[in-house]
């Protein structure tokens, strides 16, 4: 079958689903809505699989031109898709995980009055995401990029009766815009430098440039600003936790598995440019490690089940960028894939819990749910195990590969990375223990309602759990399948900087030690969490309790372990609080400050519009005088 037609069908099917559900959402019967939407994505997935199967192992990129799009002077931009190893991987993840989440949404959302609208938006999102991934040039990527941002905006504000939801949606939009501006400027700089936006041509030209070229550095940094916005890196990360106001499937699909990894995809796509600009990679590395640690430490003390997962997502995204900064592009992509599996799983599990708890999201009111929700519990536990980087599940392999490359690059970053991994393990197990172990702490009514979710929700959970468990097999240490598969993508980078892609210099023994260390740290954190939340049955203080006296609660209930309290809990808590307030106030303050500044200057500027003809004419004449003075009298 024609490859062009197949490629065109991949994004068109979700679009069709959107049109059917979106235009006729009042007329399509509710029973059909979910089926149509899910089938559309499933069909795309099947096409992607068939493409993947027929793709030659060592093949170069296949460009599928669809039609001539625009030409501006010398710049010609065709509308074409690029099928290569990288886009195939992303396509598999997007459509695969997308299908599961669509399926899950049928169970999760079908009571909602806006069900049809919801499924339509999800399909639209998939469409834009596919454009982003498949486009053969930066302009198509940008369109997909903006499109997913728009859908994310729509879906966060989906339950739009609540004001805070709206604010969250707006915040997400504003922060993403800041990133998009960087991206847009980057694209124009690319046009200016290379005269084309086609990946193939840009990279071909770029390979002939010297290392450390300033223009490339500028381009790389501008593109990274775009990635920071979309992938929630410091300082543009605060929108992601707020975005949890949207329905849970949205959080799973957009804010965990797919859209937020677009930034990583872009950097990997432009790997030649980044390899050419080592300084840019350093910036990426610094921002990545700050993000990873900051978000992890904030995650330690969150009590909203989705917020914990959100901060964990931010932190994991930081890990991915950390890998990229050490030119471990494969490792970064590997983590994108495994993260898509286990984070989608965790979010969907959280959704299942919230569903069972009648929309309760506070983990202090949960506990002991493992008996009521066995499937959810087991799958959630697998996800937690995987994200914590404990063997033998997927997260272990991917995170470990990143850390191994970082170790080669910089010992300090590695140590910080391991620390972050410990934090991850701690807060994830804290979440697991508080939610599923111990006694139930909710109301009696909630307890009465507890039930396992329907099959449409549990089946995706089980599939994702299996994937999270065995996903590590994609790229076992010592040159797995994935690194071979992706090799052609990095051909250009290898040309410009062979050293960065030389065979690893660390010996296998060192590598095993590194693995052991990171796994050990994660295990230690697990134990710490176990001691704190299972043995000691600590429950985080409620919001009403005075924050300066958190120990009171524990003090009154248990034999005091003051040392433990003072040495671990309090520092962690204060650290978490500090970082949290940093995020909330400093970053948001900055964003709001800029908005305030614009608004104030607007208020001042509009006073010029005084309504008086005399003043208007005066301003005109004065401007003419100034122009004449500048052109004829002042030499500069």
């Amino acid at each position: 079958m024609q490859i062009g037609l197949l490629c065109a069908l991949i994004p068109l099917l979700p679009l069709l689903g959107f049109v059917i559900n979106g235009v006729g959402f009042r007329r399509v019967p509710t029973g059909l809505v979910g089926g149509i939407a899910t089938l559309a994505v499933l069909a795309s997935f099947l096409i992607v699989v068939s493409l993947f199967m027929s793709f030659p192992a060592e093949g170069g990129p296949q460009i599928v031109p669809l039609f001539d799009w625009i030409s501006v002077g010398d710049l010609h931009i065709p509308f074409s898709f690029q099928i290569d190893q990288l886009s195939l991987l992303m396509l598999l993840v997007v459509t695969g995980v997308g299908t599961l989440i669509h399926l899950y949404s049928i169970g999760y959302m079908h009571h909602d009055e806006g069900f049809g609208k919801f499924m339509a938006f999800l399909n639209l999102f998939i469409f834009f995401m596919l454009l982003l991934v498949m486009g053969a040039n930066y302009v198509i990527m940008f369109i997909g990029w903006e499109g997913v941002g728009l859908c994310s905006y729509l879906l966060i504000g989906f339950w739009n009766k609540n004001v805070s939801y709206n604010n969250a949606a707006r915040k997400a939009f504003v922060m993403n815009r800041i990133g998009d501006l960087g991206f847009l400027l980057g694209i124009f700089t690319i046009i200016n430098t290379f005269g084309t936006v086609e990946y193939v041509d840009v990279f071909k030209q770029a390979t002939s440039l010297p290392m450390g070229d300033t223009t490339v550095l500028v381009i790389a940094l501008l593109l990274f600003v775009g990635a920071m916005g979309k992938s929630a890196q410091v300082p543009l990360y605060t929108w992601l936790p707020d975005a949890m106001a949207g329905p849970t499937p949205v959080s799973a699909l957009i804010h965990a598995a797919t859209m937020v990894t677009a930034g990583i995809y872009m950097v990997v796509r432009s790997n030649v440019l980044y390899t050419l600009a080592p300084q840019a990679l350093e910036v990426v590395g610094i921002i990545a490690i700050i993000t990873a640690l900051l978000a992890a430490s904030i995650g330690l003390l969150q009590n909203d089940i989705k917020k914990v997962l959100a901060y964990s997502t931010v932190s994991q995204l930081g890990y991915m960028f950390l890998g990229l900064s050490a030119t471990a592009y494969t490792a970064g992509m590997f983590h994108v894939i495994t993260h898509a599996f286990f984070k989608a799983l965790l979010f969907l599990g959280a959704g299942s819990v919230i569903h069972a708890m009648s929309n309760e999201q506070d983990i202090r009111k949960m506990g002991g749910l493992r008996k009521a929700l066995p499937v959810t519990f087991i799958t959630f536990a697998i996800g937690t195990w995987a994200i914590s980087g404990l063997p033998p599940f997927a997260g272990f392999f991917s995170k470990d590969e990143i850390l191994a490359h970082v170790f080669e690059h910089s010992k300090v970053l590695w140590a910080l990375g391991v620390l972050g991994s410990g934090l991850t393990s701690f807060y994830m197990f804290r979440l697991l223990f508080l939610t599923f172990f111990g006694e139930f702490r909710g109301t009696a009514e909630q307890k009465h309602h507890l039930h396992e979710s329907p099959a449409t929700m549990t089946i995706p959970l089980i599939i994702l759990a299996i994937l999270s468990a065995v996903g590590g097999a994609l790229n076992l240490p010592g040159g797995g399948w994935l690194s071979h598969f992706l090799e052609p993508i990095f051909e250009g980078s290898r040309q410009v900087n062979p050293e960065a892609f030389a065979e690893s210099t660390i010996e296998h023994s060192t590598e095993y030690v590194l693995m052991a260390v990171s796994a050990g740290v994660a295990l230690l954190a697990l134990i710490a969490a176990y001691v704190m939340y299972i043995s000691r049955k600590a429950v985080p203080a409620s919001d009403e309790a005075d924050r300066s006296m958190p120990e009171q609660v524990i003090y009154n209930k248990y034999y005091v372990d003051e040392l433990y309290e003072a040495a671990i809990v309090r520092p962690i808590r204060s650290m978490g609080d500090t970082f949290y307030s940093f995020g909330e106030f400093a970053v948001d303050g900055l964003v709001n400050g800029v908005a305030w500044l614009v608004k104030q200057s607007s208020a001042q500027l509009r006073r010029l519009q005084s309504g008086s003809i005399g003043f208007y004419v005066f301003a005109m004449v004065l401007s003419i005088v100034l122009i004449f003075a500048l052109r004829f009298f002042i030499r500069f």
Partner: protein, 184 residues
Amino acid sequence: MTEFLAFFKTLTPTGYLFLLLTALTVISAMGVVTARNPIYSVLALIATFFCLSGHYILLNAQFLAAVNIIVYAGAIMVLFLFTIMFLNLRREDEEAKTNLTKIASVIVGGTLMVMLIMIFRAKSSQLPVGSTVGFEPNTGMVENLGHLLYGSYILPFELASVLFLIAMVGAVMLGKREAGDRHF
């Protein structure tokens, strides 16, 4: 200064006439913008137009000089005068602009004037004067202008009628008294 005096001496009566007309023009133009009473402004403007017509005659543009008197001084200014009379604007009121804005306006306008004059007097802005050989003295005669107007410029000439139609329709539409309106 001596240069100026020397220039003075070379002038014939026509030259003096030019200077006189120039002085009159500027004075009456200033009268237009400074007169307190709008009627005086109109009269000063009419005087300016007459002076300008004098200039046109000096420049051998007799036809335009006549048209200037007929159209501007005759028709347009009468329209102004009518309006002022109808609206009964003889009172010397509502000139309450603060002195500050007036001074600022004069300074900015004056600066523009000084700048323009400096530019026009600069060496690099002098235009090559047309040679006397090919000089066509009939430039401003009605025959010459008529040929041009009905030849090359026929299209804008015809389309100017569109402008008049618009103005006619518009003036009637806006100026017409609706039922219940005051007369003036």
